[in-house]
């Protein structure tokens, strides 16, 4: 059955139309959760507002469990679902540069579109920055393509790497997330908070 487009149950154009509908859901939920506000997003790094942590990990766990159950029921073939490849060097260095961009700029790409959609000028400027950053990467591609391609490990699952079944790993991740939620609730009581 699933994934519908990979199994050619829906056409390529239907797939693109559904991408638009899925995007509406994505943008709507982000905005309703407060992800259109950079000060609310940055709160997670100071403890005064941990909405990012709660939404992010709840979403990751929901989707992960959903996929595992869909697979169990035979509704989706997980072998046909894209698993992000692992290039160790660029995953770490790219992540570090993005982390710096996050604390300096206050948005990530998805949330900046969300902020821009309700008129946040800082979000629109951030998107301008994204464009420049991608352009710089493209123009200097020959300079860093060695780093970009280094330490390719294929597309391993973290559960395989740790020698656990997907289910056991998922269970451990849920316990870790619940501990972080508990810590987040404690931090929000400790640090003063405003509504942005």
């Amino acid at each position: 059955m699933g994934p519908l487009s990979v199994n050619e149950i829906i056409s390529e154009n239907t797939n693109l139309f559904l991408a638009f509908i899925i995007g509406i859901g994505f943008g709507f939920v982000l905005e309703q959760s407060g992800f259109s506000s950079s000060r609310k997003l940055a709160g997670v790094f100071y403890g005064y507002d941990t909405v990012v942590l709660k939404v992010f990990f709840t979403a990751a766990i929901t989707a992960m469990l959903g996929l595992l159950f869909f697979s169990l029921f035979g509704w989706i073939d997980l072998n046909m679902v894209y698993v992000n490849p692992t290039y160790l060097t660029s995953a770490i260095i790219g992540g570090i540069i993005m982390g710096a961009g996050f604390i300096i700029g206050g948005y990530c790409p998805g949330t900046s579109f969300c902020g821009a959609s309700i008129g946040k000028i800082d979000a629109i400027v951030f998107i301008g920055g994204l464009f420049i950053g991608v352009l710089i990467f493209g123009l200097g591609y020959n300079i860093w393509d060695g780093m970009y391609m280094a330490k390719f490990l294929g597309s391993p699952k973290i559960s395989q790497t740790l020698g656990l079944s997907d289910g056991v790993f998922a269970f451990i991740l849920i316990i870790v997330a619940l501990s972080m939620f508990w810590l987040a609730e404690w931090a929000e009581k400790k640090f003063p908070r405003e509504e942005y």
């Binding site: 699933g2 000060r39 961009g101």
Partner: protein
């Protein structure tokens, strides 16, 4: 504890409910299209579209455009992520309209000026744009969507993004609190 937290309810959705809903959107993307959500890939399409329009011959020879062409034929703007991110703009606008949050403004801490905030937004955007290309996806495409399919790289990128932001938070605290 702040006064506002006790005296009035949050104007935003409960974060755990928001998280479950976002997870269901991500699950739908995987079920329908066999892939997760993303954001920076749409910017990449826009950049490729721009450079191939301005300098078609020269840009097609660059490694960056060649790499893009391996996975995308035809018009660089006719991709899944471009359609999805157009939806994000529509969905965010709809949500903001329903909740009375549509307003042009520069949001910043009272300790800094609007101009400084915009310069920081630009600089942060440049770093994030560059990093998202090196890391093969951003918080959405690499970290969140990667985690949902248990990608090792997704978890590593997630830890690197949040770890770095926490490590640098102290130095940029005046901009936020």
């Amino acid at each position: 504890m702040s006064k506002s937290e006790n005296s009035k309810p949050s104007k935003y959705l409960n974060p755990y409910i928001g998280g479950v809903l976002l997870g269901l959107v991500l699950l739908a993307a995987n079920f329908v299209s066999g892939r997760g959500l993303g954001a920076s890939g749409a910017i990449k399409s826009a950049v490729v579209s721009t450079v191939t329009t301005i300098a078609p011959a020269a840009s097609e020879k660059t490694g960056f455009v060649k790499e893009f062409r391996q996975s995308h034929q035809g018009n660089p703007m006719k991709t899944w992520l471009v359609f999805e991110m157009t939806g994000v703009l529509a969905g965010g606008f709809l949500s903001g309209a329903l909740s009375g949050r549509l307003k042009f403004k520069v949001e910043h801490s009272p300790k800094i000026t609007s101009k400084k905030r915009l310069l920081l937004a630009l600089g942060g955007g440049i770093l994030f744009g560059f990093g998202s290309q090196l890391g093969r996806g951003c918080t959405s495409g690499s970290a969140l969507s990667g985690m949902a399919v248990l990608s090792l790289g997704g978890f590593i990128t997630m830890v690197a993004i949040f770890g770095t932001a926490y490590a640098l938070a102290y130095f940029f605290r005046r901009n936020w609190i």
